[in-house]
């Protein structure tokens, strides 16, 4: 397709008898300057075929780390699933949360878990936390081709580092770059809002319990402003998936515990919908 307003000499010699000449300005624009048309229904891209998982938050605490994810997967503006799990234990000492193309992301987690377990069984000792984080980066890099076609998958990785005795947190970009985060991070469509919330109330000396509450609060803020992030579904009793990481290993926070924290957060939001006030 040419973007020239004037027909090329070749077109002038042999004009397309059926399509080239039109007296409709809209058709002319669609052919030559499509960007000037008011936005119509966009072409369906391959990525729209797959549901998308949304927000994951994670933070380090005084005793380790906490990672939490909402339960929603979306396909365009529809909710594809209300109770999807996007945060998993990668092994006994680390967790992985994933945002992006859900089917591929869940497969990636499955492969990553077998990768860690396979190494541990063959070598008789687990990988170091940095080793696990780098391996995950390499797997994301291997996925770059699909990411360019729109099926982006981004993980957030947290674990207990046995060698230095603390919880650590890693984020990634689509090219497999692995970056250690200090404090907190979030990924997915609601990440901006979750990070904004955490920025105000995160403290490095959080206990695990406070970390859990902070994550639930941040997810509430993400769901508050991002349509693709699911808020707590009190009617269906669907709550965020939360994992805690301590020296004792990874532990999924019990459903009753999360229900209790969520109910407290919802009750406090009824008094102050924007969440806890940060002191100036």
């Amino acid at each position: 397709m040419t973007t020239d307003l004037f027909p090329s000499p070749r077109d002038a010699v042999a004009p397309d008898p059926w399509g080239a000449r039109t007296s409709s300005f809209t058709e002319f624009l669609a052919r030559h300057r499509p960007s000037l048309l008011p936005a119509g229904p966009s072409a369906v891209t391959a990525a729209d075929l797959a549901p998308t998982g949304t927000t994951i938050v994670a933070l380090t605490t005084a005793d380790g780390a906490v990672m939490a994810g909402d339960r929603r997967a979306t396909a365009g503006s529809a909710i594809a699933q209300r109770d999807i799990q996007k945060v998993y234990a990668a092994d006994d000492y680390s967790t992985i949360g994933i945002a992006g193309s859900a089917g591929l992301a869940i497969d990636l987690v499955k492969l990553f878990r077998v990768e860690l377990e396979h190494y541990e069984k063959i070598e008789g000792a687990p990988l170091s936390l940095d080793g696990k984080a780098n391996r995950l980066g390499a797997m994301i890099r291997g996925h770059l081709g699909l990411a360019l076609q729109g099926f982006v998958v981004l993980p957030l990785f947290a674990g207990w580092d046995i060698d230095c005795g603390k919880g650590r947190l890693f984020s990634y970009d689509a090219t497999g770059g692995c970056y250690e985060e200090t404090g907190y991070d979030a990924i997915g469509s609601g990440a901006v809002f979750a990070k904004g919330a955490l920025k105000k109330f995160y403290r490095p000396d959080f206990t695990t319990a406070k970390g859990v509450t902070a994550c639930v609060q941040a997810l509430f803020d993400a769901a508050d402003d991002d349509a693709a992030t699911g808020g707590p579904d009190l009617a269906r009793q669907i709550f965020p998936v939360v994992y805690s990481i301590t020296a004792a290993g990874v532990c999924r926070v019990a459903e009753e515990e999360i229900a209790k924290v969520t109910n407290q957060v919802v009750a406090s939001r009824q008094r102050r919908p924007d969440g806890p006030e940060a002191k100036l």
Partner: protein
Amino acid sequence: MTQPMFYVSPEQQVKDRADFARAGIARGRSALVARYAGGILFAAENRSQSLHKVAELYDRIGFAAVGRYNEFDNLRIAGIRYADVRGYSYDRRDVTGRMLANAYAQVLGTIFSAVTEKPYEVELCVAEVGETPDKDQIFHLTFDGSVADEAGFCVMGGSAESVAAALGEDFAPDLPLHQALGRAIAALSADNGGEDLGTDALEVAVLERDRPRARKFRRLTAADIAAALTPPAAPARRRPRAKQ
């Protein structure tokens, strides 16, 4: 100058190869695998802390071997790969001890009868802990690829017969861990001139039926072995229920 050719009957060939493999296996120390109330116990005399004779293959499946280290370690890695590929491509529940035992039997049988290769000087055991005790399985594989499904325990290596005789005297598949481990160590010590093996000369692991994780295999350190040998404190006796 050419070598003179002699006819060797197939019977003689098999016998020679079997003798060769047996002699190799008999040089090593023994290992045993036995059922106990909470799952399956692996114990071996092993003075190395890093060259293991007992290993995890999959969620509910463990492996023990005696003989030539490089050979059984190759088989261990092959088993882990086989199990992980199966579990990844189908489902974790689709990996079974029987399947792995069959795969090992095929490999060992093929190597044993291949004229150009020497037979493997190894003896293996693949054990799977079931959801319930009646689903526990212990497969015993020998160097020629034969498989035996053992009911209660399996002993391999140097003085397997004397160890099996010592263990068989008072074996029961429903003993608590401290008793089962005590008897296993006593039986392995039969190989040691009757002197009890210390915790640093032992390699012990268990497949625990009630372990709250998918992976039931747990390796016991020297301290864990010592702790496992002391009987758990007796539970407080309940007051007899009043008659209604």
